[in-house]
Every structure is written in structure tokens, then in C-alpha cells.
Symmetry: C2
Subunit: 277 residues, 2 copies
């Protein structure tokens, strides 16, 4: 992996890397924040999955997470939201919610997506193996994300017990088998087999399997996407049924933007730090 | 003034306004952060002047200033960096350091700039009068800025004793009569009369007039523009000669970016809060 850009930030280092991904079959960029504590020895990591249209830059520049990560001694690992580059399929009409910037953290099985769109495996396996071999990380991982990335964080954590010590999300797409964004993406990437979709639906996974993971979800009640796309009530119902440890907080007046994320990222990082030790 | 966008942030409100500026002779946008304390009564304000190529959005979304402003009860007033819109002159070659996004906080006297480029008067008079009549502000003002905006903040504060209780800057263009950015902008906007240039040079102003203002300046020592464009040593020399209260801090390893600003904006807001009462 090659350093594209590196900047000092809150006493630590904000670094953008490039590498050739075997899983995604293309060149990828991702960002990392290494806190000052990483100069002394390996630190735990919080993975952040971004939402539709984002790259690794949005969270890096807008969330203000480095301040708290520097205080708590947490690395931040921030992947892109889809494969990129020439030869990577995009939506024919350039829609913002399918193709580039909209990988939905699934392993696509349908043409033309299946040759590159394997963000599930990338975030679960290739990226952690890479950064843990190259950077001062101690192998302890938590995961969080926003909107499409909140969906990705919940699904990755629920399907892989033991991989992450805790999971959190901001305004996640909680029940993608039952919303327009989810229908569009899952049918394109996975075809019409609803059983395949269910493997990427946090509410269905939680209802079916339960979970002992600590889970924190923040949702703004002035979020334009709340009722039609996000459906946190489905996640809450699944948590109730399965006695999962979900804290779902409805934040009055907050919308879907990075101003909402910036306002509560400190709570999320402190939540994860408790379990990362 | 009309609300273009409004978002809850750290319990306060981040608002983007549009208004028709008489001073600039065009429609302008600017951003404001109102802390939660503004719901109870008028609060003091920190004016933020951004650098080359920025609009009001860069500081609003990248500096992380709202968290501390919400804690301290400070409003943030964030103007654009030049006049905008059809009919507003731009550099013929679209240079980033002249014309749109590069108003340099001067009152231009030369064609074609003089019909719109009056950012000095806009920030000094029209904008404060507007926001203080429309928003819960108590009329106490501090001013800060970055790079070209650090230059603007220092010049506005030094030329107008009593208007601002304190001034700070990140990597300001400290001596624009003696650097390439300054030569280009000042000769275009003001012509070749060097006496006119001197009215917009913080180091010359401080040397000539002195100041009793509290001044805080942060400068990264890994800033690519440090030696050729920024020249904080000229400001320090002028402060020493005039016994001004300048604290100039050289921050090791930091560059010219918003990661640098984000790392130290808390110090600047706490500095201003001390004088804003």
C-alpha cells in the first residue's frame, strides 16, 4: 500500500493510501487516522463505512472524529464506498444510489456487478488483513457507519460474531429488503432471490439470529429519509424480539447530514472505546 | 436575508443565508452558527474569514468549530471570500488566486474589479450591521481567519480599533506587499500605488501604528506556503518593534490544510471567549 497524502492532525496522522485490491479487482484508496498513541505501540481500530455518494474523504474531513480518536488512542479505518476506476461498472444513468459510490457492502452475484462489487469481503477480510499487517494495530476492531454505511456496519457485525467488539450506526438503512434504496441495490447486485437479500438486512439478521453485541444507533428525527428508507423501528422490533443490546436514540431536530454525525461521533467513539479496552 | 439551508448541529443551528449586498453590488451567501445559548438571549460573535478558493462552506463543514462555539456560547459568522454571480469579474485565465474566491478583503479601486470587489467594507460594516439587526447577537465581535482570511482578519482588526475585542489567524499572509500572492492581488485590485497596498499589510500596519489588541497566530512548520507566501516572521518583527501582544505559535509537522485548523480551532475560540466575556 502506498501513501497518497499524509497530514498531521490532533497530534496524530491522517493518511490516505492506495493499494491494488484482489477482492475488488481494481485500485482502491482508503484513509486511516493513526492517533499519537500508535507511535508507542499497537492500538485498536474503529472501521467507518460511509454512505451513498461518499468516498473516504467525507468522514475524514467533516466528522471531526480525529480529536476524540486522538484522545482515546483509537485508529480510524475509512474505506471507499465502492470499487472505482476504468472498467468498473456504473449505473447506466449515473444514479447516485447504484454503482459507483453505492456498493452497499454486498458481494454482487449478478452481471455486470459481480466482477468488482465485493465490498462485503473487502471490508470484512482484505482491508483488515492489509492494515493489520502494515500498521500498528492490535487486531481489536469496532465498526460504525452512516446510512448505507450504517447498514454495512450492522450487517458485517451481525454476520460475523467475534470480528468486532461493538457496532454503531448513524441513520442506518435498517431494513433494506423493505425500502426503495434497498430494493434497487439488492435486486441489481443479487438478483431476485429474496433469500440472498436477507443476508444483507440487519433487521432480518437480528430477528433470525439475535446478537450479544453492544449496539448504539443514533437517528435524527428531522431526517428526510427516515420514514421511507431508514426504518429504525424494524431494527428496534428485531432487537426486542431477540433481546439484543440495542440502544436506539432518536435525536430531535437532526437531519441526515455530517452536521448530525459531527454532533454525536464523540459518543460513538467513547462507546466503542469501552469495549476495545 | 433569506434562509437557504438550516441544520441542527451540537444543539445549535448552522444556517446558510442569502442576501443582496449593497456594498458588493450582487447576491451573496454566508453562513452562521448560532449556539444553543442564543435561544435565551444575545451572544457574542466570532467572524471567520476563509482562504483562497473557499466559500462559507469549507469552514462550516471542516473545522469542527461548532462544538466549542456551542459550549462557549459563541456565534460564528462566516462570509464568502469574494463577490459572486453573473456580471462579477473573474481572472481572465481563471486563476485561483485572483477574482472569484480571492477577494483578499480589500476595496478594489481598479477596473474591472472596483464595481464589486469591496470585501473590506462588506466584512467591516454591511455584514455586521445586517446580522446584528436580524440575529440574537450582542454586538461584541472577535475575528479570525485562515491564510488570505488570516490576512483579512489582521488587517480589519488593526485598522479599526474597538471593532473587535481580539484577533487570531491560522497561517496568515502576514506581509502581502512582500510575497507573490500579495503582489498579484494588490496590484490588480489597487493598482501600482504602494501606499495603497500598505493599508492592507498587517505587518506594515502593526509596525506603523502598533496595537493593544490580543493577537494569537498559529502557523504549521510543514506548511508549503510558509517561506514564500506567509512570512509570519515579518509580523513577529513588527509586533516586537511596536510592543504588540502577539502570541505566534509554530506548530511542528502541521501543513496548510483544514486538518491543521481543526486541530487548533478550540484554542482560538477559547482565546476569543476570554475577551468576548
Amino acid at each position: 500500500m502506498n501513501i497518497v497524502q499524509q497530514q498531521k492532525c490532533f497530534g496524530g496522522r491522517q493518511i490516505r493510501y492506495q493499494h491494488d485490491s484482489r477482492t475488488l479487482n481494481c485500485s482502491m484508496q482508503f484513509s486511516v487516522f493513526l492517533p499519537p498513541q500508535a507511535e508507542q505501540g499497537p492500538v485498536p481500530a474503529v472501521y467507518w463505512l460511509s454512505g451513498l455518494t461518499c468516498t473516504d474523504e467525507n468522514f475524514s474531513s467533516k466528522a471531526g472524529a480525529q480529536r476524540v480518536a486522538a484522545e482515546l488512542g483509537l485508529a480510524l479505518i475509512i474505506p471507499d464506498t465502492s470499487p472505482r476506476g476504468e472498467g468498473v461498472a456504473d449505473d447506466a444513468e449515473g444514479a447516485y444510489d447504484l454503482g459507483l459510490g453505492a456498493g452497499f457492502y454486498v458481494n454482487a452475484t449478478q452481471a455486470p456487478w459481480s466482477s468488482h462489487y465485493r465490498m462485503y469481503d473487502y471490508v470484512l477480510s482484505e482491508l483488515p488483513a492489509l492494515v493489520e499487517s502494515e500498521l500498528p494495530l492490535n487486531g481489536k476492531r469496532a465498526i460504525s457507519g452512516h446510512s448505507m454505511g450504517g447498514h454495512g456496519a450492522l450487517v458485517l457485525a451481525l454476520r460475523n460474531p467475534g470480528r468486532f467488539v461493538s457496532v454503531s450506526a448513524f441513520a442506518p438503512i435498517s431494513n433494506p429488503t423493505d425500502c426503495p434504496w434497498g430494493h434497487k441495490a439488492l435486486s441489481a447486485y443479487l438478483g431476485e432471490d429474496r433469500a440472498a437479500w436477507a443476508e444483507y438486512d440487519a433487521s432480518l439478521l437480528l430477528k433470525a439470529k439475535g446478537s450479544s453485541l453492544p449496539m448504539l444507533v443514533d437517528q435524527g428525527d428531522a431526517d428526510n429519509f427516515l420514514a421511507e428508507q431508514l426504518k429504525p423501528e424494524a431494527l428496534q422490533a428485531a432487537a426486542n424480539e431477540s433481546s439484543a443490546k440495542l440502544e436506539l436514540r432518536l435525536q430531535p431536530g437532526y437531519d441526515h447530514s455530517y452536521y448530525f454525525i459531527a454532533s454525536f461521533i464523540e459518543d460513538h467513539l467513547r462507546f466503542h472505546a469501552e469495549y476495545l479496552g
